[in-house]
């Protein structure tokens, strides 16, 4: 697409985006507060696009976005697909089960094949932490991390931040409690980076067996210069939730019980479920969030998930706008 054509395709309300210079979006840890703000502002414009009668702009017309998913995902993949299509891109979905991955093709072979097919953007979900970094090092494609192992899920964190900001405005001094399987959660990690970068107070809460090294009691992060987000840890949910502005529940994988990490689902529910009584300890207008998919009745009580305080469905809606913003900035925002 020629530059002037791209200029015309730009959503009218999106300003010039000189601050965006990144080739890839791999995690929130690399973003400055200004860059996060830019994603937020761009997402506002995309929300406006999505509210139109024909919710489309041709900003990515002629570009191909490949969704390469090595792990089953319904909502993230669909969200990226809708985002890319709303920007006029062609979308190819590759699920690892159906591809040559099963024939022993290496990740890099697959990535190079996608590149050779003429794609510009690779949206990648992988069960192994760091896989998108490997791809990004060995390709000219723009790589968007759509979730890697226990490591990062930057677009989820950005849509969470976007959702919180729409309700609470400035994040400085706001208390966000993230509850559950912190050790294995890419959502918790990415949110910890993004929220603390914008000045929020982040409290991670879970049983010690679901807290990672360095955050678990008895383990130390005292190791010279530690490059970690400044979070607090509280294992008692009743204390953690006290005065919270945002309460975010994480999905509990049922296989954790088999590993001897948790005694029983019943006990977990008793100690760590976000229910009405617990939520009453938070601020009266506290937001309830969940990255999905939910185990209702496990990490979150159904009446809480459906309460007026819940913004869980709005998270899903905002996800499309935020992912549009990310795709736009990576490909067109620098034009």
């Amino acid at each position: 697409m020629r530059d002037d054509a791209r200029e015309q395709a730009r959503p009218t309300s999106v300003r010039e985006a000189p601050a965006w210079k990144r080739e890839h979006l791999l995690d929130v840890d690399e973003l400055t507060p200004e860059e996060i703000e830019l994603v937020m502002d761009t997402a506002d414009a995309m929300r406006e696009v999505l509210s139109r009668e024909v919710p489309r702009v041709p900003a990515l017309r002629g570009l191909t976005v490949v969704n390469l998913f090595y792990e089953p995902s319904t909502r993230t993949r669909a969200s990226f697909e809708l985002a890319a299509k709303a920007l006029g891109a062609d979308v190819v979905n590759i699920a690892a089960e159906q591809s040559s991955v099963k024939k022993g093709e290496s990740l890099l072979d697959t990535v190079r094949t996608v590149e050779a097919l003429g794609a510009e953007v690779l949206v990648m979900r992988h069960w192994q932490s760091g896989a998108p970094y490997l791809a990004a090092r060995h390709t000219r494609l723009h790589v968007v991390n759509a979730g890697d192992g226990s490591h990062a899920h930057p677009t989820q964190a950005l849509l969470d931040i976007y959702t919180i900001r729409r309700h609470l405005g400035d994040l400085r001094g706001r208390k966000v409690v993230i509850v559950g399987d912190i050790a294995h959660s890419r959502v918790a990690r990415s949110n910890a980076w993004g929220l603390t970068a914008l000045g929020a107070q982040v409290v991670l809460c879970g049983p010690p067996t679901l807290l990672p090294a360095g955050l678990r009691p008895g383990t130390s992060m005292d190791d010279g210069e530690v490059a970690m987000p400044p979070v607090q840890v509280e294992m008692d949910l009743d204390k953690a939730i006290e005065g919270a502005d945002v309460v975010m529940a994480l999905r509990l994988q049922r296989e954790r019980m088999a590993g001897g990490v948790l005694p029983s689902l019943r006990e977990y529910v008793r100690l760590y479920q976000i229910n009405v009584q617990r939520l009453a300890r938070a601020r009266p207008d506290a937001l309830v969030m969940h990255p999905g998919p939910m185990n209702e009745g496990v990490e979150i009580a159904p009446e809480v998930a459906r309460s007026a305080q819940s913004v869980i469905e709005e998270q899903v809606t905002n996800g499309v706008a935020v992912r549009m913003a990310v795709l736009y900035l990576l490909t067109g925002g620098k034009a």
């Binding site: 290496s106 890099l108 932490s129 990004a136 192992g149 226990s150 990062a152 990690r189 090294a213 360095g214």
Partner: protein, 438 residues
């Protein structure tokens, strides 16, 4: 009569505390004289003025991969890497395919080494049949075939009763059992040290306790049986403390540490920040035991300085490119270390953290005494008259950049690529013959 003199260098022989400026004369493959002007009339000479002259370095822990894994390394390529790194003796681990669990396999390696090796190869044989940890290998016959120690390296003997029997049996043979101490139930699925870096990267951790509990168990068995236990690649502060406690009680225990555990931390997995997103997930820093914390590194250095740890061993673990160019979880464990070992350890000397004489000791007579190798090769690791004519000449000040693509080893897997190091092996003499000269 052939003679070779290394002239005018600073000669260190830690076995006898020798530190003098002079010559080393080698006649017919053996050390003939050491001292000022000792090499005046030699047929051939190496000018070592301004250079350091050491007994040939000894590595008691390396993987030469032959037979069976020749795409990663061969006895020929691995021993050329050794020569370039200043090593004239290497003990190779038995986790080949097939493993060195029969006398025939041990003899095969020795025979192959006689044909193609650039330096001396002393094979280590399996502790258990097929390295499966179920029944003892034929230890006495393996010893007769020339094995210098026993180890199931990488797959530690999980059954404590079997490890106990191995120590008992090996004690009669006078050979050590080398244990890679790791409780595989504690480390299961782990790919790097369990600490804040693993937390940040979302990678499964290997806790220090996986090593320390296995070290403690092996130490108690050694103390009880009197069998010589050599603890491979100590990597945690707790493991150093355990070894020290049991040594103080007189247990027959020796230990080694690798250059990477002396010089690198788990932060190496994150990398330098120049990769996309700032995180490297550097598979070349994936090694077992994993790179640990700064406190662990400090404890390993301290243990080495004070003699709690006997020696430095490379755990040279070469891999093919595709073994490392993949997702971190899938990548092979190991660092190709023979060609960087001395220079990396010299960084500790340059920083004033380790005495040069102690470093030299830990790479020459230290490993020889630890495993009792002089029983197999009298005089090994020394410059005593009659000892093997193995000499390493080092330029302490020469700076160089680690370029894995120029390694003699087939294994280009090092987290040190691009790093500037000071101190370089300029000449390696094995049995009176120059096997490497810059």
């Amino acid at each position: 009569m052939t003679s070779l003199a290394v002239r005018g260098g600073r000669v260190l022989d830690p076995s006898r505390g020798v530190d003098l400026v002079g010559d080393v004369l080698i006649v017919d493959g053996r050390i003939a004289a050491v001292g000022p002007d000792a090499g005046r009339d030699a047929g051939e000479a190496v000018d070592a003025s301004g250079l350091l002259v050491l007994p040939g370095l000894v590595d008691v822990h390396c993987h030469l991969r032959e037979p069976g894994l020749e795409h990663k390394e061969t006895i020929e390529s691995g021993t050329l890497a050794a020569a370039r790194g200043g090593f004239t003796t290497v003990c190779c681990m038995p986790n080949t395919e097939p493993p060195l669990d029969t006398p025939a396999m041990v003899r095969w390696v020795r025979g192959r080494a006689e044909q193609v090796a650039h330096v001396r190869v002393l094979p280590i044989a399996c502790t258990t049949r097929e390295r499966k940890g179920r029944e003892l290998a034929d230890l006495a016959e393996l010893a007769e075939a020339g094995a210098v120690a026993f180890s199931d390296d990488g797959d530690p003997v999980a059954d404590p009763a079997l490890l106990r029997h191995a120590l008992e049996y090996a004690s009669v043979l006078g050979l050590p059992v080398i244990e890679h101490c790791e409780d595989k139930l504690l480390s299961a699925g782990g790919v790097m040290h369990e600490g804040w870096v693993a937390t940040r990267l979302g990678l499964r951790g290997i806790p220090a306790a996986a090593e320390e509990s296995a070290v403690a168990r092996a130490l108690t068995l050694a103390a009880e049986t009197g069998g010589h236990l050599h603890v491979a690649h100590v990597s945690t502060a707790g493991a150093v403390a355990l070894v020290e406690a049991y040594r103080a009680r007189g247990a027959p225990v020796t230990a080694e540490v690798t250059p990477h555990h002396l010089c690198l931390t788990h932060e190496a997995v994150m990398g330098s920040g120049e990769s996309p997103g700032g995180l490297a997930y550097d598979t070349n820093a994936k090694v077992n035991p994993p790179l640990r914390t700064r406190a662990d590194v400090a404890a390993c250095r301290d243990g080495l300085s004070r003699g709690v740890i006997d020696c430095i061993a490379t755990d040279h673990a070469p891999h093919a490119v595709e073994d490392k160019l993949c997702e971190f979880d899938l990548a092979a464990f190991g660092i190709s270390g023979l060609e960087t070992a001395l220079a990396l350890c010299l960084s500790l000397v340059h920083e004033g953290r380790l005495h040069l004489m102690r470093l030299a000791e830990a790479m020459t007579i230290g490993p020889v005494r630890a495993l009792g190798l002089d029983r197999h090769v009298p005089g090994l690791g020394t410059l005593a008259v009659g000892a093997p004519g193995d000499v390493t000449v080092v330029d302490l000040q020469q700076e160089w950049t680690v370029e894995p693509e120029r390694f003699a080893s087939k294994g280009k897997n090092t987290p040190l690529a691009g790093r500037r190091l000071r101190g370089r092996v300029v000449c390696t003499i094995y049995g009176g013959r120059k096997v490497w000269q810059e």
